[in-house]
Amino acid sequence: MNSAAVTLRRRDPALASPQRQLELLRRGSERLAALEPFAARLERAGLAPLRAQGIEVLQVNVGKVCNQTCKHCHVDAGPERTEAMPREVFQACLRLLERTAIPTVDLTGGAPEMNPHFRWFVERARALGRAVIVRSNLTILSANARFAELPEFFRDQGVRVICSLPYYEAGFTDRQRGQGVFAKSVAALQRLNALGYGQAGGGLELDLVYNPAGAFLPADQAALEADYKRVLAARHGIVFNRLYTLANLPIARFLDYLQASGNLEDYLEKLVCAFNPAAAGAVMCRTLLSVGWDGRLYDCDFNQMLELPVEGGARIQDLDDPAALATRAIRGDQHCYGCTAGAGSS
């Protein structure tokens, strides 16, 4: 088991409270209180109120159990967490898919593979003809014998695998995700490549995700993708399809890191200064619906971790009118500056 850090819930239960985190970002100091409220910034950009434009992706967070405790984790996931989506909530997700034309299911966590209903749900979603994305931390594939055949399962189900690799070298990766994670990630990527993942036009899509290993913004996506492809191919024989760059949002363990390292105010000011109206207009929450492990619905995984439910606060088990969610007003707060900075976060 990799352990880069303990969970925030164990280290600082007070800061683990979503309400406390929201208050900290809004008014935690004079400098933070002086930052323009996100809603006002959207108004000034002519984008308010931000509304959903349909639901293209049903993102299902299957729980907070994970074999890693990455330092930046906005979920505060880890091995000692116990929250896991029960079968009845998964079934409610399938019922929603049957009633709608949502084309893609995106499984995240924690480590989604660790949920006991994971394989069953992937099979059922694929049987409904939906594209399935699994956000894998890669090390889960070698963490335990019961996960050892997951790469073959992914291939057989035609799953698109998106996995985190903060850098193409061990330094940044291991400091953020745990000692030895880079080496294990390389081995997992090589295994996926051997099964056909990552070949251009091959049909088995393998994408990587970069996020900064600290309080700075991500580099240009195209430039980094070229570097990753060049170095990973030359040194490890690894190929992949696309690289996505994500900014770290000031939530849970990353917020804790920002505060403890004295970077919180500078980082928030940096995010606010980097506000990009084009990125704001194309934020992923406009075409995504997020489901929590207990069935509660959110605009995105970040709102989920801050316990900001969708307008009306519905649960997927009780959903009468999914059509209304397709044009809902999206809830935002100061953390949203993370997705609207620079080129945006995909």
Binding site: G171, A223, D227
Partner: protein
């Protein structure tokens, strides 16, 4: 009253130099921004060059700015340290190469 010459917060106030000379300030910043735009060299190459030069001229503001700038252009610590070594090698080398002149002089006046 400040007790140190440098305040990190002053880096963000660089643009304020326009207050004492708007026209020249504008010319400088227009040119500065054009220099760092992607061109024949990438943004990362320029950030690393700037980082190296910042160490050569020992500007604390520039070291701060281009450390972040290099990280935000995708460089890592090893790349950045190599860039600083380039600066150090040039500074050291520029002293040492003049030793050739010293040696020439020694030989011209020595039996």
């Amino acid at each position: 009253m400040t007790k140190t010459y440098y305040d990190p917060a002053d880096l963000k106030r660089f643009g304020n130099i326009r207050e004492f000379g708007e026209k020249l300030g504008d010319k400088f910043f227009d040119w500065y921004n054009a220099v760092f735009a992607e061109g024949a060299l990438t943004k990362r190459e320029k950030a690393l060059i700037a980082l190296a030069v910042a160490h050569a001229v020992q500007c604390a503001y520039c070291i701060d700015a281009y450390t972040t700038g290099s990280l935000e252009s995708g460089a890592d610590e090893r790349q950045m340290m190599e860039a600083v070594h380039v600066a150090a090698a040039i500074r050291g080398g520029s002293s040492l190469v003049h030793a050739v002149q010293m040696m020439n002089k020694v030989k011209s006046v020595s039996m």
